[in-house]
């Protein structure tokens, strides 16, 4: 088959550096220039839902990193055996398995988090970033490159939702990682001084506003224009 001959031709070349320039780009590109949330506007659903507090957001980010990297790896390993006609189902099965694993582990070791994230861990399955990277990258690239690509996309997703969560928790609940920042700060100015929290930030609307602001700032800086 033609696919095999191409693989062999590549193997004859000297081995590529463990972190060559091209591979670094795989990880760094999705952080800003190809960011899944701000540029491709994928994975918005969970970005809105779980970002009221930093702690669950961090757990969500770690889960997504694990799922995207691992599913990219597994699909890339199987890429030459997956029947083209059922590839979406195969991808879905692999992703769903990984997500269920994450959810089971959370349930056993971090039950409070499991309760708090509830349905959103399961919804990683439908996170467009996961399927998007499988279709666009893992099906046509080697396992190691695919893992890097997955890491890049997931990290791009993570830093955005963490930023959103930081501002939402700060302005909405007056705390950072559960530490009462507003109370501490207002305590410095005497007993009558009180910083008010904004209820809008706690509702999903707050995430839209912050996400919009992040996209605005980023696009001003990079000069990105949608085609």
């Amino acid at each position: 088959m033609s696919a095999e001959t191409i693989e062999k031709a590549i193997e004859k070349k000297p081995a590529e550096a463990f972190l060559s320039k091209r591979r670094k780009k795989l990880v760094t590109d999705p952080l800003v220039d190809e960011n899944p949330i701000t540029i491709q506007v994928l994975g918005i659903c969970s970005a809105l839902a779980v970002t009221t507090q930093l702690k669950p957001t961090l757990v969500m980010a770690i889960s997504v990193i694990f799922v995207v990297a691992m599913s990219n790896f597994v699909i890339s390993l199987m890429r030459n055996t997956i029947p083209a006609r059922v590839r979406i189902i195969v991808q879905l099965a692999v992703v769903a398995t990984l997500v269920t694993l994450v959810s089971e582990v959370l349930k056993a070791f971090a039950y409070d988090m499991y309760k708090e994230l509830s349905v959103f861990v399961g919804l990683i399955i439908t996170n467009c970033i996961v399927m998007g990277r499988l279709e666009a990258f893992a099906l046509g690239n080697k396992p190691y490159d695919s893992v890097l690509d997955g890491l890049g996309s997931a990290l791009g997703y993570s830093w955005i939702i963490l930023t959103v969560a930081f501002f939402r928790e700060l302005w909405g609940s007056g705390s950072v990682f559960g530490l009462p920042v507003f109370d501490t700060v207002s305590g410095l100015f005497g007993p009558d001084f009180k910083l008010a929290t904004n209820g809008l930030m706690v509702s999903p609307v707050g995430a839209f506003i912050i996400l919009g602001l992040i996209i605005w700032v980023q696009r001003t800086k990079t000069g990105y224009v949608e085609h």
Binding site: A49, T100, F109, Y111, S118, V119, V202
Partner: protein
Amino acid sequence: MQQSNAYIITFSVILTVVLGLLLSGTAQILGPRQQEAIALDKKKQILGAVISGDEISAMTPQEVNQYYESHIGATVVDINGKEVTEKDGVAVSAENIDVAKNYKLPAEDRLYPVFIYHEEGDDSKVKSYILPLYGAGLWDAIWGYLALDTDMNTVGGITLAHAGETPGLGARITTPEVQARYSGKEIFNESGELVGVQMQKGEGKDYSSEPHKIDGMSGATITGTGVNNMVINYLGHYKAYIESKKSSQAVAAL
């Protein structure tokens, strides 16, 4: 690259079996730990009705278990307030009763667990009676535990939880701020009728002089109504038990 149907079917079968084994294996291995986590969570919720959430979150799982063992006793009653020790030949224990499952039965067939909060290691010195609650919120189930002081009238505290109320609105029932509003309220009115504690519409009013009303949650009136119904329903189901405790105390006081 077009594969034969046989290849596709074989591939799918192998994939399904491998993934299925992986998942069932994980569920088997993690199962016991998950059961523990669920049991611990339930204990935390029960304790949450009588001690503050901060205190509970400061405890390690072992400490929670220990505190629970030494402070909480339990019994199971039926709708008539009679103690139940077995059902259909199987012994019942309050910890194992699934209130959600019982909720699906007609009220008179349900089993009603009661958790009794007492002085450390001494179950004759009762401090309060903790009654499980279960009902419907706006989107999904809500449940909780309500602690009644020994006068069987004053609410000592409440914990509320939900499956899917709106974050920031109805989901606020889980916050200490909302739950604290129940403390010190009374469930019987002056003429001895069971009226429960009713969350009012709107927020920011002072109900401190009204023993049966508490401030509502702005934007979450339907969840509030759900909580109200749940509280009055379950207090109604436990009414016989509550009355029996009341009268036995009246006798003891003589």
